[in-house]
Assembly symmetry: C2
Homo-oligomer: 386 residues x 2
């Protein structure tokens, strides 16, 4: 019931025929068809897909409100030019007509292959069917309808003292890259100012989805949307912020574990940086480095590669103080090997989740990213579109 766990929301998913067999559309809406407050975070990519433009424009113009979000998977409606823009608008219009609301209050997301026209007729035909079947019980179907190469639906929910917050997600950054895009939809029955929603959502996204680094690319369609029905009154803001972060984090880990071809999930912490920003920079550079990712694939504690990657990141480091630890066991200090229990390290590296700390010795800045290994599965998935 993730995305309909909070009071005031209904959802549904179905197979419209964009993909061969699997569900490929989802609709999330308010139960009463009235607008609620909405906040969103969109991709920073400049080659942005028409549905992102359509949704962003709406929230800018209507001050941050929405009745519904219509989503299709299997085709990202990206690299589709003016025709793609018209298709995104048509999806909003069809949804508004089915729900009896204003098309300016319908947000739209697409995810899937880039550069191929949307099969818009199939989508417009399926939209009224979706609207008719909307219910609080449709959350799982909706979570299935937004998936692309994901192997499982991704849902999470936190119950606060005076509110519920739930959500669903798919893919991640360029996690399942043939199908591009990370999408997440969150709902709550808390009553929050739109400005607070936007601020807290941005912060939660930065500390969760944005710490996940599968291959360093931001997609043309990445979108996170939060809707708040307000049915259960004002929450404690700190409690709400914490719940939002927890839901986003849970969805992030579900994505990471479902990354195409991945066999290892790595929690990489960079400490001792000159600033948190430099720590983030170093962590990102390390987690994106193909040599490092290959060494994770092989379960190889090749600390020299981590320091070499950190050294190329632009972040300050003091080679004489830098250390590298795997599973809490320090294997290198002062830029040289350190005596350590190599069997314990090997055992840790054999696991599915690896903890690494790279301490730069240049200050007290810290950051964490979640990375994955680079193995043959990734290449197999991504070397041909068809």
């Amino acid at each position: 019931m993730s995305v309909t766990a909070a009071e005031g929301f209904v959802a549904e998913g179905l197979h419209a025929g964009i993909k061969r067999r699997r569900y490929d559309m989802a609709l999330l809406a308010t139960a009463d068809g009235m607008p609620v407050r909405a906040a969103a975070v969109f991709t920073q990519n400049k080659f942005v897909a028409p549905p992102v433009v359509a949704s962003r424009n709406r929230l800018q113009k209507n001050g941050g409100q929405a009745v519904a979000v219509i989503v299709n998977s299997g085709n990202a409606n990206a690299g589709t030019g003016a025709a793609g823009m018209a298709d995104a608008e048509a999806m909003c219009a069809a949804t508004a007509e089915a729900l009896g609301c204003d098309a300016r209050d319908v947000l739209v997301c697409s995810t899937g292959i880039i550069g191929t026209p949307l099969p818009i007729e199939k989508i417009l035909e399926a939209t009224p069917k979706l609207a008719k079947k909307l219910s609080p019980k449709g959350a799982r179907h909706a979570a299935m309808g937004i998936l692309t190469t994901d192997s499982i639906p991704k849902e999470a929910c936190v119950k606060g003292s005076k509110f519920t917050l739930g959500g669903m997600a798919k893919g991640c950054g360029m996690l399942a890259p043939n199908m591009a895009t990370m999408l997440a939809f969150l709902t709550t029955d808390a009553d929050i100012d739109q400005a607070d929603m936007q601020r807290l959502l941005k912060d939660a996204v930065d500390r969760s989805f944005n710490t996940l680094n599968v291959d360093g690319a931001t997609s043309t369609n990445d979108t996170v949307i939060l809707l708040a029905s307000g049915k259960r009154g004002k929450p404690d803001l700190a409690e709400f912020a914490d719940a939002l972060h927890r839901v986003c984090e849970e969805l992030t880990l579900l994505m990471a574990r479902d990354a195409e071809g991945m066999t290892k999930l790595v929690r990489l912490r960079v400490t001792g940086a000159k600033s948190d920003a430099e720590a983030r920079q170093a962590a990102k550079t390390i987690a994106e480095n193909n040599l490092v990712k290959c060494s994770w694939h092989g379960g190889d504690p090749y600390w020299g590669r981590l320091l070499a990657a950190a050294g190329s990141s632009g972040a300050d480091m003091d080679t004489d103080l830098a250390t590298v630890s795997y599973g809490g066991i320090c294997v290198s200090r002062a830029g040289a090997p350190l005596e350590h229990d190599s069997e314990a390290v090997a055992e840790h590296m054999d696991g599915e989740e690896i903890d690494i700390e790279v301490a730069l010795g240049a200050g007290s800045g810290e950051a964490q990213v979640i990375g994955v290994d680079l193995g043959p599965g990734y290449i197999k998935e991504n070397s041909r579109t068809s």
Copy 2:
């Protein structure tokens, strides 16, 4: 005779026992044991290896001169701390003793695995043997002695109207990454000011080696050294600059074609950027993107990925004007597919060398990088050190 093609230089290579069988040391020196002018470009990585520190310090202190360069392969002497620094100094001292010159005029380079102490005894034992065998005929042996995972020695030579310029190289950036590092050694008999040498070398490196992007990482040991004996007098500077660029470019292409696991070499040109710097930024981002690299491996003209990567680079682009061409055939315009001869594109993509132009439509800035595909061979090579 590449590195000894110019008058006044001798070289030799041998097997010292660092690697199991292959040559693993090289020595390049002036024929008369007297110092000549030297210029160098070193890695920008902050986690820099002791031999780089030793060589950089020498050139800073002696105003840019050298009698010899001693090189070992199989071990990068990186991530080795104070002991590694002492080993680098010991290599210079042993070479100076064997040649009867000042140790401050001996440069040193190492390439190979990171984080393992140098087998310094073997190196010091082999150094006098190397010195004894030095001759103009030793160039090929020297070119073999600097290799790591390279499959062939890399040599190039240009004869100018009044000078000769030759060189040898190995690896590239993180091309053959278990062994890290790109090294190149160039010699000429032209008589050039040290300041001109340094300026022209930097420029040639920027336009050749630095345009090659295998996996985006700079190594702990990357070094390019140019020695000038001055035996044949002052050259035309423009002619010399051109020769220097040509030798560097030839060595760059030899490296690219020998990249571990690569099956496609891609000349990627970014045009229509707001500035050359933004073009370089976009080209680098595209060439490092794993999704793009996988599509090259599969010979898939998936132009959407190139634009998505460009869009995430930070470079300005006008989606309505941007185009993508494979082998001179434009396949996308205005962010949408364009009618084209898809058989001709498929044929071009099947070749070993692919030409791609991404035009951003934002100005007149241009840049070119040489990239390679990402295939299973790369992962196989890099998932275990041992």
